[in-house]
């Protein structure tokens, strides 16, 4: 089981590194979005509260433009049947989840660095709160968007449907994560944010378990 999860992950990673389709598009997407924010707010002093909201807007939409790729490309290339023959559905799910996790951590790393470099008002007082929110937020984001990517890969209008389906499901996570980032700007201690951390973690756990149970039905459809 573990070896086939690893194999799926490596396969996706290799084919991604070969074409760099998602990666390049994503990095450009991040650059475009951030410069859009910069143009729109040129010369204005933006509060840290607003900036932490905008940070998650960038993260959400870059996730939406890249994370569906793993499933949609299988469907486009017609390789779904081979994967179905080769291994168990749960192995496919966890392999893809792992790939999406790596992808989203990579994107978020880039987003945050670009954000720090470009946004002057974005000054974080407590880094542990910021990092905890970012890591747990990315975990939850990857978990929900992986299962929804599996759903929309089977639908007719893939591109537009993805954010539409993901947004409401992701909202409890996004609201909590935005709150965490705001708290980190205000300089809250990590102990004070345990409530938020618990929400983020339980969201991740609940979504992954439900996806694991439900993935069989989507995959065999």
């Amino acid at each position: 089981m573990l070896s086939s999860i690893w194999a799926i992950f490596l396969k996706d990673l290799k084919s991604e590194l070969r074409t760099r389709y998602a990666l390049n598009a994503l990095l450009m997407f991040v650059v475009v979005t951030i410069s859009m924010i910069l143009f729109a707010t040129a010369g204005e002093v933006i509060s840290g509260e607003l900036l932490s909201g905008l940070l998650w807007v960038v993260i959400f939409f870059s996730a939406m433009s890249g994370l569906s790729r793993t499933f949609v490309s299988e469907e486009d290339r017609g390789t779904v049947i081979f994967l179905q023959l080769a291994t168990r559905p749960s192995a496919v799910y966890f392999g893809k989840l792992l790939f999406n996790l790596v992808l989203i951590f990579g994107i978020n790393f880039f987003v945050v660095i670009a954000y720090f470099l470009t946004m002057e008002g974005f000054k974080i007082k407590s880094f542990d709160v910021f990092l905890a929110g970012l890591i747990l937020g990315s975990l939850g984001l990857a978990s929900a968007s992986t299962i929804i990517a599996a759903i929309i890969a089977k639908a007719n209008t893939k591109g537009t449907l993805y954010p539409v389906l993901s947004f409401p499901v992701l909202l409890p996570l996004l609201i909590t994560a935005i709150n965490m980032t705001q708290l980190s700007i205000e300089g809250a201690k990590l102990v004070e944010t345990f409530g938020h951390l618990r929400i983020l973690f339980s969201y991740f756990a609940v979504v992954v378990i439900a996806s694991y149970l439900l993935f069989d039905y989507i995959w065999k459809e």
Partner: protein, 226 residues
């Protein structure tokens, strides 16, 4: 047939009583608290209807019986309707109690997200043509969506300060609306109204799913005859 008339009469009496029954004095709300008889049951009912939709979705995934899918959609549709009613009544009430139609109170956010989730659910259904595939994928989505609903309905309004009665920081109690120190009159009428709403829901649900199942049966018959 007679039951429908009785139910109509019952709901009419509830509605009339909701306006005239003495409810005692409630600080901060006064007569505006009467919305509880219509707004709160419809909010609860929408969540119950979405829950039933999820149960039928699970049954569909187990049995692959298309009738279960029809029932799941019927319940989700009625839940959406009740959700809409809740949003509109709440919004009108908010204008008179808080001064504006929409304040992004945690409860308002949660009801808005419920509308978004099930709006997306119907969009997903319209985006897939093959019947079985549509049923399976929308069943999975409705399960995934419903397991995130508790985060909105039960967790967020309790940990975030808000204006809505029953949210964190409300001196009347940090729990759901029923832990209000309610007048006995009010409590009885509230639960009577809830019962009425449940009966209306059951009746609509039965009607809606029967119509859709009959449609499928007629189609199958036409195919057989051809």
């Amino acid at each position: 047939m007679i039951w429908k008339f009785l139910l109509g009469l019952y709901m009419a009496i509830i509605t009339a009583l909701a306006f005239v029954i003495p409810i005692g004095f409630i600080p901060g709300l006064g007569e505006r608290a009467r919305i509880i008889f219509l707004h709160v049951p419809s909010a609860w009912l929408s969540v119950i209807a979405f829950f039933v939709a999820m149960l039928y979705a699970i049954r569909y995934l187990k049995s692959k019986n298309i009738y279960e899918d029809v029932k799941s959609v019927a319940s989700a549709e009625i839940g959406f309707l009740f959700c809409f009613v809740t949003t509109v009544t709440g919004s009108i009430w908010a204008k008179f109690n808080w001064g504006s139609f929409w304040n992004w109170d945690p409860r308002e956010t949660s009801i808005f997200v419920l509308l978004l989730i099930y709006g997306a659910y119907f969009v997903l259904r319209s985006a897939i043509e093959v019947e079985e595939r549509r049923a399976t994928l929308s069943a999975v989505y409705s399960i995934i969506a419903f397991i995130t609903v508790p985060f909105f309905i039960f967790i967020m309004p309790r940990i975030m300060p808000g204006l809505h009665p029953g949210s964190k920081g409300d001196p009347e109690g940090a729990g759901p609306v029923v832990t209000f120190k309610m007048d006995p009159n009010m409590r009885v009428l509230f639960f009577a109204s809830l019962l009425g709403f449940i009966l209306v829901y059951l009746w609509m649900f039965k009607l809606r799913s029967r119509v859709e199942i009959l449609k499928i049966k007629i189609q199958n018959k036409i195919y057989q005859e051809v």
